[in-house]
C-alpha cells in the first residue's frame, strides 16, 4: 500500500471527456437569444492622434445596432496598479498598428465587417518608435505623456559587491544577447460574451454577466468595475472552458472590456471573438529583449559576480511590463549560488502591440543569455559544462543574496538524471569523432527554474491569495468551490485529487465548481504557476476542515478517539482494525447506503442507525450522513497566503521574484546542424523537472513536454517579424509555431524534492522547464559546430550565417545586417513600407520614411 490513494497516481483530467467529444463549451460556443456580434476597428498607423471619428455611415447600415467609440468608456485601466494606461477603445491617440479604435455591434459578423469599412477616422500621424534603444532617446511626442524617454520603468539593483566579485574572477565573459519576440499562440482565440440583467425593480440596467476566455476572472471583475463604474458585486464573471492561456489571458484583454461596454450601449448581449490576427495584436507575449551580460568565475568554476543590463521592447502599454523587467533581474538568483549581482533593467515603450506575461515570465530570455554565457565561461577555463553547473549549486535551505528563500532544491538530482540518461560525456565524445556528410551533431546542457506563485500579489496585502469552500452533500457527494481557473493545465483535476485524498473518498464523488465570481471564493488567477501551490493548499485546508466534522461524527459512531479514525477509498474505519477492503464480509453496508427504494429517507435511516449500535467501520457516505446528523451542515473552508519570510527583501521592486517555492529543471538537447543549409534538427531532449511532488505524474509529464516543445519553438523558429511597426506575420501560417514533425521525443524525469510548504510537497510544473531548452539548443549548436549564436531564434539563415563566419567562407548578408553571433541591434524585415510619398500617411520623422534598402541582385 502506497502512502496515498489518489495523489501521485496518473489520473485523466476530469474535464477531458467534454473536451475530446466536443460537448465541452468554450466561450465562442456560447450564444444567447438576441445576441449581437461585435467587431473591432483597428488602427492602421503606429502612432497618431485621432482628430475625428465619424460612424454615421456605419450606423446607417442595415443590421448595425450601434458603434462604440473611446469616449463611451474613457476610464483608464491596466493589470498593474502602477500601469493604468489603457482605455477600452482609443480616446485621444492610437499607439500601434492594430490598436483599438471603434467597435461595431451588428446582427452578424459579415455586416459588422462591412460596417467597419464605413467608419470614417481622421488621424494626425505622430513620430513612432520601434526600436527600444531609439525610443529611449525621445524627448518629445512620447508614447505616454507621463513616461519620459518612453521608459515605462527602470530598476538598478546591486546585491553584494559586484565590483569586488569581478576583481576576484579569473575569467570574465561579456556579451550582448538578443532574444526575438514570441507570443503564446494558444489554440483558442480570445472570446467574450457580455450581457446585462435587468434590475427587477426599475427595469433598468442591472447586473453585468461576462463569460470570457480568461486566466484571471477576479481581475477581470475588478477592471470591469473600474471601466464601467459598477460595483464588483454587480458584476459576475464566469470562465467557461479555456483552450490554453500561457499568460496571454492572464490580464484584461481589450475585447473583454469592449464587449461589456458594447453590451451596455447596444442594450443586448454582445459576443466578440478575435480573429487570429487580432490575437497577435492583443499579444501580451514575451518582449524582444536585449541583454548585455557579464559574468565572472574563478579558475575552479565558482561564480564571483554577474552584471546584467536588460532592455525590453515592451510595446505601447505597460501591461505586466514592470513585473517582467523585475523577474528578469530577480531570477538571476535562486538557481545557482551567485554572491554578487548587479542588475539594470529598462522596460521601454514602443509603438507596437503590448508585451505581457508569457510562460516563464521574465526569466526565459535572461536564462538564454546566462546559460549560454556559462558555457562560454566553462570553455574559457577548460571546464565541462556539467562540472561548472555542479560547482555553483545552492545549499538550501538558504536565502539568496537578492532575498529569495529557497527550501526544496532538486536541481542537483535533475542535472544528474539528464547527464546520466543522455550518456553526456561518451555521447559528446562520440559526436566529435564521427559526423555524417554535412551534418554535425552536438549536445547542449542547460538549467532553469521558476516560481510556484508570486509571494506578493499584484496588489500587496495580507489577504489570502486563494480561498476554497467545500460542501458535503447528503449522499456523500463532495462539491469543491474554487476560484482557480482551469485553462487546460488541469487545475480542476488537481483540486479534485487533493480534496479526495484528504477526505479519503474516491474521485468520482468530487464535483468541482470553478472560476465563477458569484459562486466561488476568490482566487487571484492562473498565472505565475501559483495554482497548485496556493489553491492546492487552500483546498487541502478546506478539505481538512470538512473532514474534521466527519471524523468527529465517525468517532462517535465507532466509539473511538477522533485520532483513531482512518479514511481512505470511501471507507472509514478504526485504527488498529483491518481496513474494510481486507475483510471477508462487509455485511450491513448496503442497508445503510442512504437509499431506500431509490429515495433518500433520512429520518428512517437515522432511526435505523441508532438501533445498530457501535461498529468499527463504515462507508464515507454513512460517515458523511452521520456528520450531518450530529453537526447539521457539513462544509469546510480553507485559505492560503504565502508566509511572511518568503515574501522577499525590502528593496524597491523586491516584491517580484520571491515565491514560497521554486521548481527546477535541467535538460540535455541532442541536435544536428546541417553546415550547408543551417537547418537545425533536435533529435531528442532529456528533461528533468523538480516539481516537489507529482500530484498527477501524467499531467506533470505533459506539462514538461509541452514546455520543452514550446521552448523549442522560441529556440528555432518562432519570432515576430517587424517592419516599421507592422507585424509581418500575424497568423499561424507565417508565425512558425512548431508542428508535430519538428517536435522531438522528450524523455522526462520527474524529480520529487517534497517541498515543506507545498500541498503534499508539490511545487510548480508548467513553466520552469521552458527556459532551459533554448540555451540547451544554443549550447548544442556550439558543441556541434563551434559557433556561438547570441541571437534567437536560431533560424537556418542565422545558423548558416554564423557557420560561414567560423568557417571563414565569403560573407553573404543573409541576416539583414545583424550578425547573429554578435548582434548589436534588433532586426527588421527587409521590405519597404513607404516609398516616395506613396503608402500610408506616416509622420515625416517615422522610420518607415527612411530610404529603402537597396537590394539589387
Amino acid at each position: 500500500m502506497s502512502d496515498f490513494a489518489i495523489i501521485g497516481k496518473p489520473v485523466a483530467l476530469i474535464d477531458s471527456a467534454g473536451k475530446t467529444t466536443g460537448q465541452g463549451k468554450y466561450t465562442d460556443d456560447l450564444s444567447m437569444p438576441g445576441m449581437l456580434i461585435g467587431k473591432i476597428l483597428h488602427s492602421p498607423l503606429p502612432h497618431a492622434r485621432i482628430k475625428r471619428i465619424n460612424p454615421t455611415k456605419a450606423v446607417k447600415l442595415e443590421g448595425v445596432v450601434s458603434v462604440v467609440v473611446g469616449t463611451d468608456a474613457p476610464n483608464k485601466y491596466g493589470i498593474l496598479p502602477v500601469g493604468h494606461d489603457e482605455t477600452a477603445l482609443a480616446v485621444d491617440k492610437v499607439r500601434y498598428v492594430g490598436d483599438n479604435v471603434a467597435c461595431v455591434v451588428a446582427t452578424s459578423e459579415s455586416i459588422a465587417e462591412q460596417a467597419l469599412e464605413l467608419i470614417d477616422v481622421e488621424y494626425e500621424p505622430l513620430p513612432a518608435y520601434f526600436d527600444p534603444e531609439e525610443a529611449m532617446k525621445a524627448e518629445s511626442d512620447l508614447i505616454h505623456d507621463h513616461r519620459p524617454h518612453n521608459i515605462e520603468k527602470e530598476y538598478h539593483h546591486v546585491f553584494g559587491d559586484p565590483g569586488a566579485g569581478f576583481a576576484q574572477a579569473d575569467a570574465i565573459v561579456e556579451g550582448r544577447y538578443v532574444a526575438g519576440e514570441v507570443t503564446h499562440a494558444a489554440m483558442e482565440p480570445h472570446s467574450t460574451l457580455a450581457y446585462f440583467e435587468l434590475d427587477a425593480l426599475t427595469g433598468e440596467e442591472g447586473r453585468l454577466v461576462v463569460q470570457s476566455s480568461t486566466q484571471v476572472p477576479y481581475y477581470l471583475q475588478h477592471k470591469l468595475s473600474i471601466v464601467l463604474d459598477k460595483p464588483m458585486a454587480q458584476i459576475r464573471v464566469i470562465k467557461p472552458l479555456v483552450g490554453g492561456g500561457f499568460g496571454g489571458k492572464s490580464e484584461i484583454i481589450p475585447l473583454e472590456i469592449i464587449a461589456a461596454v458594447a453590451a451596455r450601449k447596444a442594450k443586448a448581449p454582445v459576443k466578440i471573438t478575435y480573429t487570429r490576427e487580432e490575437v497577435f495584436w492583443a499579444h501580451r507575449g514575451r518582449p524582444r529583449t536585449i541583454i548585455d551580460l557579464k559574468t565572472g568565475v574563478k579558475r575552479d568554476g565558482s561564480l564571483t559576480a554577474v552584471a546584467a543590463k536588460v532592455i525590453q521592447d515592451g510595446g505601447a502599454y505597460c501591461s505586466y511590463g514592470v513585473v517582467t523587467i523585475l523577474y528578469s533581474g530577480a531570477l538571476l538568483g535562486a538557481l545557482y549560488d551567485i554572491p554578487n549581482i548587479q542588475y539594470d533593467g529598462f522596460r521601454v515603450l514602443t509603438n507596437k502591440p503590448a508585451c505581457g506575461a508569457m510562460r516563464g515570465h521574465g526569466t526565459v530570455n535572461v536564462r538564454f543569455a546566462f546559460e549560454s554565457q556559462l558555457d562560454e565561461l566553462a570553455l574559457k577555463i577548460g571546464m565541462d559544462p556539467y562540472d561548472i553547473r555542479k560547482r555553483n549549486l545552492l545549499k538550501p535551505p538558504c536565502v539568496t543574496v537578492n532575498g529569495l528563500r529557497v527550501q526544496s532544491y532538486g536541481l542537483p538530482e535533475c542535472i544528474e538524471k539528464v547527464v546520466k540518461a543522455s550518456d553526456w560525456a561518451a555521447r559528446r565524445a562520440e559526436y566529435k569523432q564521427k559526423y555524417n556528410g554535412t551534418v554535425r551533431r552536438g549536445l547542449g546542457l542547460a538549467c532553469s527554474h521558476y516560481v510556484s506563485g508570486a509571494a506578493n500579489s499584484i496588489i500587496r496585502s495580507d489577504m489570502p491569495h486563494s480561498t476554497v469552500n467545500i460542501k458535503i452533500e447528503r449522499d456523500g457527494g463532495v462539491v469543491v468551490y474554487t476560484g482557480a481557473s482551469d485553462i487546460g493545465q488541469g487545475s480542476d483535476t488537481m483540486v479534485a485529487q487533493i480534496a479526495a485524498e484528504v477526505l479519503g473518498c474516491t474521485l468520482g464523488r468530487i464535483k468541482v465548481i470553478a472560476a465563477d465570481t458569484d459562486l466561488t471564493p476568490v482566487d487571484i488567477g492562473s498565472y505565475s504557476s501559483r495554482v497548485t501551490f496556493m489553491n492546492g493548499n487552500a483546498t487541502m485546508r478546506a478539505a481538512e476542515d470538512a473532514k474534521k466534522k466527519i471524523i468527529a461524527a465517525a468517532a462517535r459512531k465507532m466509539q473511538c478517539f477522533e485520532a483513531d479514525v482512518l479514511m481512505r477509498d470511501d471507507w472509514v474505519w478504526k485504527q488498529g482494525t483491518k481496513p474494510p477492503w481486507e475483510r471477508t464480509t462487509t455485511a450491513g453496508i448496503a442497508e445503510v447506503s442512504g437509499h431506500v427504494d431509490g429515495q433518500v429517507l433520512r429520518g428512517s435511516l437515522q432511526q435505523k442507525r441508532k438501533d445498530e449500535g457501535p461498529k468499527d467501520f463504515m462507508t464515507f457516505e454513512e460517515a458523511a450522513v452521520s456528520a450531518m446528523d450530529f453537526a447539521g451542515a457539513v462544509s469546510g473552508t480553507g485559505a492560503y497566503a504565502p508566509p511572511k519570510d518568503a515574501r522577499g527583501g525590502g528593496h524597491k521592486g523586491g516584491g517580484v521574484g520571491p515565491s514560497p517555492a521554486y521548481s527546477y529543471s535541467a535538460q540535455v538537447v541532442d541536435a544536428g546542424v546541417d553546415t550547408e543549409t543551417g537547418e537545425v534538427t533536435v533529435h531528442k531532449v532529456w528533461a528533468a523537472h523538480d516539481c516537489g511532488r507529482a500530484l498527477n505524474p501524467v499531467a506533470v509529464e505533459g506539462q514538461v513536454i509541452g514546455s520543452v516543445w514550446m521552448g523549442l519553438g522560441q529556440a528555432l523558429q518562432e519570432e515576430f517579424v517587424w517592419k516599421d511597426g507592422l507585424l509581418m506575420n500575424p497568423g499561424m501560417l507565417e508565425y512558425k509555431s512548431p508542428s508535430a514533425v519538428e517536435s522531438p521525443e522528450v524523455v522526462t524525469f520527474i524529480v520529487e524534492s517534497i517541498d515543506p510548504e507545498g500541498p503534499f510537497g508539490a511545487k510548480e510544473a508548467s513553466e520552469g522547464s521552458l527556459a532551459a531548452v533554448i540555451p540547451a539548443v544554443a549550447n548544442a549548436i556550439f558543441d556541434a559546430t563551434g559557433m556561438r549564436l547570441r541571437e534567437s531564434p536560431f533560424t537556418p539563415e542565422r545558423v548558416l550565417s554564423g557557420i560561414r563566419k567560423v568557417m571563414g567562407l565569403k560573407k553573404i548578408n543573409m541576416t539583414n545586417d545583424v550578425d547573429p553571433t554578435e548582434p548589436h541591434t534588433l532586426r527588421e524585415h527587409g521590405g519597404s513600407l513607404w516609398f516616395k510619398g506613396k503608402g500610408p500617411q506616416r509622420h515625416e520623422m517615422d522610420p518607415a520614411r527612411k530610404p529603402a534598402l537597396s537590394r539589387e541582385q
Partner: protein
Amino acid sequence: MSLPSFKLLRPRNVEDALGFLHRYEKEGVQICAGGTDLLPSMKQRLFSPAYVMDIRGIEELTHIRVVPGLGVELGSLVKLSAIEDSGFIATHYPVLREAVMTVASPILRNMGTLGGNLCLDTRCLWYNQSLQWRKSCGYCIKKDGDLCHVAPGGKVCWAVFSGDSAAALLCLHAEIEIASPKGRRRIPLADLYTNIGDDRMRLGKSEILTRIFLPEASAGYSGVYRKLRLRGSIDYPLAGVAVAIRKKGKIIDDARVAITGVNPAPRLVKDATHALIGREMNEHAAMVVGELAARVAKPLTTSLLTPEYRREMIKVFAKQSASRATPSGPSIRD
C-alpha cells in the same frame, strides 16, 4: 473573418463549367477546386468574386489513368493525397510524389488538388494579409494599390509562385490540357506561366485546366525534390528544387532541374541539362548545377527569410539534389 457573399455554381461536367464561365464572364467567376488556398484568401478579401464555381463535382477530372505508350493522364481534380498513394507514380515518376508529399499537411492534401496546386496564386508577405493589414501598408500593386514593397518604385509584381508540384512536373516535361469554349488544347506546362506576379497564368477567363499529362519518355527518371521551409509541415516553399536524372551506366543521359518558390513562376534551369548530359556526376558537376540554378533564382523580400539566404539555398539544394538523384554519385547528404 467571414467570407464575402457570392453565388455558388456547381457544374457536373466540363461543358457545364465552360457554360457557366461564359455566361458569367462579365460578373466574374472564381474557380474553386480544393479551396485550401482560395478560401482563406477570400476571407482576407484578396478575392471577392460575384460567382464561385465549385468544380469538385466534375467526376471526369478526378482520375489517374495510365495510357500505355503515351504515359499518364491526371485529371486536374486528382487529390494530392491520391498521387501520394499511387504506387505507379511512386515507381515511375518519383520526383512528383516527393514534391507532392511536401505540400502543406496530410489533411490539406486530402482536399487540395493537383490542378489547384498548379494554378496556385502567387504569394507575398505584403499581399497574403487581411484587408485591415493591407490598409496599414498602403496596399500593393497586386491588389488594391500602386506600390511594390519588395521592389520599391517598381511597376512589376514579384509575388512568388509557391506550388511544389509544378517544379517536379517541369522536370517531367509535363503537358497540360486546357478546355475553352473553342475546344481543348494541349501545351507544355512551362507555357502556362508568365513569370509576372499579378498575372501569373496564360489561362483565359473562360478556360479551365482539365488534365495533366506525364509523358512516358519521362518515366523511370530518378528524382529528388527539396523544399526550404521553417516547419516540417504546413508551410509553402520559400525555395524549392526538383531534379530528375536518367543515366546510362555511369554517364548522365538526361537531366532536368527546376526551381520554385523564388520567382513569380516555377522555372526550368535549362543550362543545367546541357551541363550534365554526357557527364558523370561528381562534386564539381553538382556544384555547377547549384550555380546555374541560383542564377535563375530571383528571390526578393516576399517572405520571412531573406532573399540572400533563399538564393543560397537554391544553390545548395540543387547541388545536393543533383548528387542524391544520381544513385552512384558521391553521397553529399545522408
